[in-house]
């Protein structure tokens, strides 16, 4: 059976005026269903570019990326949007919730664009919020929630469409260590209990140690890729 994610010779070149910046210089990797991968590397190592391509937010200059056998190369902007909507959940460093919009409505957002009925939307969004331990907090606005809670709303939003992969870009970058561990505990539980594939970017080795596989980027190339035989177990939240 094919891998969930197959990447071959991925190259991404940005042209900044006169100069070409080679962000990715030939990445080949595959990932399977149910993995929890941490991608590490210094800033400028190309890990964010890689993540954007995995999330169909960007297109590679050359090389091939298949998600469940789907090649985004020839697809239109709108078709890519649909794939993102159905198969990918995003969690960002800065949470990226819509302010002035309640937590519940933030979680509903992907369902809105999937064209789900209002009642179904509410039900699924509630379920996702329960999943991240925010049951009954749906009516709060992001400004009324702590950083950790906001990130949990973002995770609920990423989960609500039951995507194939959850992409997290520095999910703990704006959080203190205790809250970070809470988030990691959620990731671990989602991975373990619901079998959700998680790919997470981080530059903190502590955070990477929660993942089952660590990949290290340097100068646009993978320099290390190893299974983490004994991931740290995160303490649960109350």
């Amino acid at each position: 059976m094919d891998s969930l994610i197959q990447v071959r010779d991925l190259v991404k070149v940005y042209s900044l005026g006169e100069m070409d910046v080679r962000a990715l210089r030939g990445i080949s990797v595959s990932m399977e269903r149910g993995e929890f991968v941490a991608i590490m590397g210094a800033s400028g190592s190309g890990k964010s570019t890689f993540m954007n391509i995995l999330g169909f937010l960007d297109r590679p200059t050359s090389g091939q990326y298949l998600l469940e056998g789907i090649n985004g190369e020839r697809l239109s902007r709108d078709e890519l949007a649909e794939i993102r909507n159905r198969k990918i959940g995003f969690v960002f460093q800065g949470f990226n919730l819509l302010s002035r919009t309640s937590a519940l409505e933030n979680v509903e957002l992907p369902l809105t664009y999937a064209g789900a009925q209002t009642s179904k939307r509410k039900e699924m969004a509630q379920k996702a919020l329960t999943e991240v331990g925010l049951k009954g907090r749906g009516h709060h606005h992001p400004s009324q929630l702590s950083g950790g809670e906001q990130q949990r709303v973002a995770i609920a939003r990423a989960l609500v469409n039951q995507p194939s992969i959850l992409l997290a870009d520095e999910p703990t970058g704006n959080l203190d260590s205790k809250t970070s561990e809470e988030i990691m505990s959620i990731f671990q539980r989602l991975n373990r209990e619901l079998g959700i594939t998680i790919i997470m970017i981080t530059h903190e080795p502590d955070i990477a140690s929660f993942a089952k596989r660590n990949i290290l980027f340097k100068d646009g190339k993978i320099v290390d890729d190893h299974k983490n035989s004994a991931p740290t177990i995160a303490g649960g939240w109350k």
């Binding site: 909507n85 159905r86 990226n96 819509l98 664009y113 939003r157």
Partner: protein, 409 residues
């Protein structure tokens, strides 16, 4: 459908968050639509007044004026030299089948006196058909008859203005007034006619039997002399034919040689009026066009605010695109926003326009008229403005690069 409702909700929320800004943006549309409504009301009112004046003048009306003349190198205008007679009028009626009524008129200015009041007005000697042609009624008393014409009796009909100036609340019917010192019995009062298209007060007039005017008031240079013959044709389509036939008939009756000029002239007043009506139309379109410019300016205001709004919400747009919003979802969101602004502005603008028109009317006494068509037009054009000026910002938003948008501070 659910997506449309969701977009509507998102748009409404975005607008209520920036209440002041939304209100100011709407103000542009309110003024634009209000101006369109008010200007069209003024234009329609003016047009209606002209139509009424045309109707008040009498329909299918031709006026035969006695001729211009040349004397010692000086050319005098139409009507300066009397050439027409009452018999010309009879001939026109009898020999041209498409003529319904004919009324010869001989008139002039005269001083009239009742008791200690006096007034200067126009006294017209004519036949009872005059009232038929002008579609004019009596508000009291009776008109004069063929017997009055035959006997040149000393009776008269007074216009409303004359009554107001001579009789302070007394019923004039049966009273005797003096016209050029000749005592005349008032037998009727004419209904109010209002201003003519030239702004003359049509009610400032007295009517007497033609023969009375000829023999007792103004005198005649030759028997049966009249200055004007009013002719009413049976239908608007035959006006041109009747005009030609009158020309032929009168040339023949006046023994005018083929190369000589007419000693009379025929005017088609309906034609003149319809020209005025056309210019009122042009006026209306012009007013509408000027008002439309302010509507367009209002639209540019919407576009401006929408562009600001798109820039401000770059990150939000990035989030939406990342979680799966298609280009159309984003466009719809911003289009609905501008549409809501312009339609709300349009609705308020209609109210403001109507209120403004009523105020204008009460201050200036201009005739104004609202039409459903104008209101629909204003509403429709405000929604078009919303779509047209909302489209570019919406389109721009939908083309944002999600990666850059998400990084936008």
């Amino acid at each position: 459908m659910t997506r449309l409702l969701a977009s509507l909700r998102i748009a409404l929320r975005a607008l209520t968050v920036n209440k002041m800004r939304s209100a100011l943006t709407m103000l542009g549309i309110i003024i634009g639509v209000g101006a369109v409504i008010a200007m069209i009301a003024v234009g329609t009112g003016a047009k209606r007044r002209i139509s009424e004046q045309i109707a008040s003048m009498g329909s299918n009306l031709l006026i035969v004026l006695s001729g211009s003349s040349t004397s010692g190198g000086l050319r005098f205008g139409s009507g300066t030299v009397p050439t027409l007679t009452a018999d010309d009028g009879k001939a026109i009626l009898n020999e041209i089948p498409a003529v319904r009524y004919v009324a010869p008129v001989l008139g002039g200015g005269a001083q009239v006196v009742f008791g200690n009041q006096n007034w200067s007005t126009i006294v017209n000697g004519t036949t009872p058909e005059f009232l038929e042609i002008r579609d004019w009624f009596l508000s009291s008393g009776r008109s004069f008859t063929q017997q009055d014409i035959d006997g040149a009796t000393k009776v008269c009909l007074l216009g409303k203005t004359v009554v107001d100036n001579l009789f302070g609340g007394i019923d004039p019917v049966g009273q005797v007034i003096r016209i050029k010192n000749l005592p005349m019995t008032v037998i009727g009062v004419l209904a109010t006619k209002g201003q003519s298209t030239q702004g003359q007060d049509q009610d400032d007039t007295i009517m007497v039997p033609l023969t009375t005017a000829q023999k007792k008031l103004f005198g005649m240079q030759f028997p049966g002399m009249v200055r004007v013959i009013m002719v009413q044709a049976t239908a608007p389509e035959v006006m041109k034919d009747v005009e030609d036939q009158i020309n032929d008939l009168l040339r023949q009756r006046h023994h005018i040689q083929p190369k000589q000029d007419n000693d009379f002239s025929v005017r088609n007043l309906t034609e003149i009026m319809s020209t005025q009506e056309q210019s009122a139309n042009v006026m209306q379109y012009l007013l509408g066009a000027i008002a439309s410019i302010s509507l367009i300016v209002g639209g540019i205001g919407i576009m401006n605010i929408m562009l600001v709004s798109v820039t401000e919400r770059t990150r939000e747009i990035g989030i939406r695109i990342a979680v799966g919003a298609k280009g159309w979802d984003i466009r719809l969101q911003f289009l609905i926003e501008s549409l809501v602004l312009s339609l709300a502005g349009g609705t308020l603008g209609i109210a403001v326009g109507m209120a403004g028109t009523l105020i204008l009317t009460s201050f200036t006494q201009w005739p104004t008229l609202f039409s459903i068509k104008a209101i629909l037009f204003a509403f429709l054009s405000s929604s078009l403005v919303g779509i047209f000026f909302g489209f570019y910002p919406a389109w721009k938003a939908s083309l944002l690069n999600p990666i850059e948008a998400l990084r936008y501070e």
